[in-house]
């Protein structure tokens, strides 16, 4: 199992990929996931995050098998 990371819209373009697959070991919260996937790179201001397709906060827990997403502020309608 692993943690599946997804990126959307401008953030996906800036990172140059649609996602990452990370070993869940030592990842306890959403902020850990970003730090592992982007070492030394701060989360861009305003970036939103979701765990298993529900909005989440940086300190929310993650578990093996979770889908974690990072994306820019949304604009529908």
């Amino acid at each position: 199992m692993a943690i599946h990371v997804r990126y959307f819209a401008r953030l996906r373009e800036e990172l140059g990929r649609e996602g990452d697959t990370l070993d869940a070991k030592d990842l306890s919260c959403v902020a850990d996931v970003w730090a592992r996937a982007h070492p030394g790179q701060e989360r861009p201001p305003g970036v939103l995050m979701a765990v298993n397709q529900a909005y989440a906060h940086p300190q929310d827990p993650v578990r093996d098998g979770d889908e974690v997403a990072f994306f820019p502020p949304v604009t529908g309608g």
Partner: protein, 142 residues
Amino acid sequence: MAVSLHPEPFDPLALLAACTEQLPPGGHGAQAVFIGSLRDFNEGDTVRAMTLEHYPGMTEGELGRIEQEARARWPLQEVRIAHRVGSIAPGEPIVLVAAWSARRAAAFDACRFLVEALKSQAPFWKQETLADGRQRWVQGNA
């Protein structure tokens, strides 16, 4: 089907008619409707097309959650949300929001709430193509 996403152009009035047909006649005294379409201008530039990206699964989930929130706050007989995704041309409808209620206040208020909530909460992202072919992301609601 209260919430739907459309990769192809949709006819808002046909969707409304289909929805109203399902409701018991006489049960609602008010229906408030918002239809949003793509402008051919934005921030002083001519817009030739727009691509609407979404997060399959989460977008439908958020729209459903917003619908439930509206139903909890107002006495609504029915709610309908339809939203385009993919490549959109100027003039085409992007979003349909409708709320049916016994009286106009609940229908108006719920419709307004649904539109504002989906704009600021549902995961959609807009990328405009300008007249010169340049593409840019529309600033989201932080």
